[in-house]
């Protein structure tokens, strides 16, 4: 009975979220913000671009500066970001990057559990991009919009 209740709850959560993502113009209130180094001459990115960046497919800002990725090692922030932007669970995302690592295509980006550490890394690394919890970006980095 417990399993059935869990399954039904999980199914409804998934259906509601999927329905919301499929509706044009629907913006989910995010508990995170996307931050970049202040030298990045970009003020907004599309969801598709952000997905390509975090899957390791887009590596340059406007064909110029190389992108330096950083991952939040924060379950809630990362989970929400991955669900909204990459359409993957944290485990699927880990597997995606492990496949890149075990075929020689990429290194695992640095991970930060703490928003201040993440912001500090992004602020001091040219071309860097990261995710922090909303309200914890600080002034040393630039917040970019996700269209």
């Amino acid at each position: 009975m417990n399993f059935l209740a869990w399954f039904v709850r999980r199914f409804l959560q998934t259906a509601i979220l999927a329905g919301a993502l499929l509706l044009p113009g629907v913006v989910l209130a995010a508990g995170y913000v996307v931050i970049v180094n202040k030298d990045v001459e970009v003020d907004s990115v599309s969801r598709a671009e952000l997905q390509a960046i975090f899957l390791g497919e887009k590596v340059k800002w406007n064909r110029a500066k190389y992108i330096k990725l950083a991952f939040p090692d924060n379950g809630a922030v990362m989970k929400e970001f991955l669900q909204n932007v990459c359409g993957k669970t944290p485990l699927q995302f880990d597997n995606h990057w492990s496949r890149l690592v075990f075929t020689g295509k990429a290194s695992v980006p640095p991970m930060f559990a703490d928003s201040a550490q993440m912001a500090n890394f992004v602020a001091n690394k040219a071309g860097a991009i990261g995710i922090v919890a909303a309200g914890q970006a600080g002034n040393s980095v630039k917040i970019i919009k996700v269209q």
């Binding site: 998934t14 999927a18 993502l21 499929l22 598709a48 671009e49 390509a52 497919e57 887009k58 590596v59 340059k60 064909r63 190389y66 330096k68 359409g87 993957k88 669970t89 485990l91 699927q92 597997n95 492990s98 496949r99 690592v101 075990f102 075929t103 020689g104 295509k105 990429a106 290194s107 695992v108 071309g127």
Partner: protein, 406 residues
């Protein structure tokens, strides 16, 4: 082999002690995996481990890789692997991949060295058991006997990612080179079975590939979670084989596995914790073998194919369930097997096709540890390479595997 095991074990201990997911020394990132399994099949059907009918622990995989980002555009790395499947693999350490990678633009990068082949949805990452749900992926598409050959190419490649706006994005790779392959590989063992005569089992003594081209397209569609792939492999293998007949007389052969054209079409759909996948593969090739007794010479054009559908669902952080159904045919224009019986290539129609139903339980009790139990019910024996003629039409595989990966 002991050296590789010690290196991987030392790295694992380092990782375990620091609870990091990778070891790093002087900017060189180190990752690795160790897998050990046990397999038992129907006594007469040894597949894909040579002595699986008796039950076998000769079923392991090891790997360790080193990589370094030299500049933002340039990275270099290599991976050493070893595996055992009984009569092939045999825990011999080999260079799995080693290449330099220069990423010039999002849509244009270059790689040179020994590079993993992107065939189908999963071929590039098939070494590490922890990266997939199943112990054995569908064997028509991910054949264990090709594990040490049709997985990497020595040469160069161009690759990149191209955004397509509202219709998604495309990732592409084109590779040109040759396939490094040795006479003790699983592929050579498989080809030896092909060119053996009824009276004389032959073993491949020399094998090499012609110039090989691999192409791969992955389309990430606008439908969230849906990706489609189209891959091709164009190559030929040739070599020599030797053995003796029942009278003890020497039998030699010059053989060619000519103009192999392999195409794979794949679809994968991810919906939260549910992953559905399907692939279809065709193999067109000509086998020719010339013996020291020309009366035995033969040539045969083959048109094989196979497909599968699979589903996996992640129930919790530590438990995943998966299953697939898979069919493969030696002659796609004669699916009941009659053409290969008439040509004398197989004795029974069911030797010319195979279907396979698999179910796996995957457990991840710790971040770096994966445990699996997998069962297969099979009918037909087309994919079996090490045969005695006593194989059963209906048979089973039961496999377990534990993998530590970092």
């Amino acid at each position: 082999m002991k050296t590789l095991t010690m290196i991987v074990a030392t790295a694992l201990l380092t990782v375990a002690a620091t609870t990091l997911y990778a070891a790093e020394i002087e900017g060189v990132e180190i990752h690795g995996f160790i897998s050990q399994g046990y397999i038992k099949t129907t006594r007469q059907n040894n597949f894909p481990v040579s002595d699986s009918g008796e039950g076998s622990f000769k079923f392991n995989d090891f790997g360790i890789n080193f990589s370094k980002q030299i500049t933002p555009a340039l990275r270099v790395g290599l991976q050493l692997t070893a595996f055992d499947r009984g009569n092939y693999g045999k825990d011999k350490v080999s260079l799995d991949w080693a290449y330099g990678d220069y990423r010039y633009l999002d849509w244009l990068g270059f790689r040179a060295g020994k590079i993993k082949m992107p065939l189908g949805l999963y071929n590039e990452s098939r070494d590490n058991d922890a990266l997939r749900t199943f112990i054995f992926q569908p064997q028509n598409e991910y054949y264990e006997y090709e594990r040490d050959s049709i997985t990497a190419i020595a040469g160069g490649s161009i690759y990149g990612s191209i955004p397509l706006g509202k219709v998604g994005a495309v990732n592409y790779q084109v590779q040109v080179g040759t396939i490094p392959i040795t006479a003790d590989s699983g592929t050579a063992l498989n080809y030896g079975a092909y060119i053996s005569t009824p009276d004389a089992p032959l073993a491949v003594t020399d094998i090499s590939s012609d110039i090989t081209v691999v192409h791969h397209l992955e389309w990430r569609t606008p439908l969230e979670g849906l990706r489609a792939t189209f891959s091709g492999l164009h190559t030929s293998f040739s070599g020599k084989a030797a053995g003796s007949d029942s009278t003890g007389a020497s039998v030699t052969a010059d053989w060619k596995y000519d103009s192999l054209r392999r195409f794979l079409y794949g679809l994968e759909y991810t919906y939260n914790d549910l992953v559905l996948a399907a692939e279809y593969q065709t193999d067109d090739y000509t086998i020719m073998s010339k013996y020291n007794d020309p009366a035995n010479d033969w040539e045969s054009k083959q048109k094989a194919d196979g497909w599968y559908i699979s589903a996996t669902y992640r129930f919790t952080d530590w438990f995943e369930l998966g299953g697939y159904y898979h069919e493969t045919y030696g002659d796609r224009h004669s699916r009941d097997g009659s053409s290969l019986v008439q040509s004398g290539y197989v004795a029974n129609k069911w030797n010319a096709w195979q279907n396979d139903t698999a179910l796996v339980l995957k457990f991840d009790p710790m971040p770096n540890l994966t445990l699996k139990v997998e069962g297969h019910l099979d009918e037909g024996t087309w994919l079996l390479s090490e045969t005695s003629g006593n194989e059963k039409k209906r048979w089973y595989i039961l496999a377990t595997k534990a993998t530590f990966s970092f």
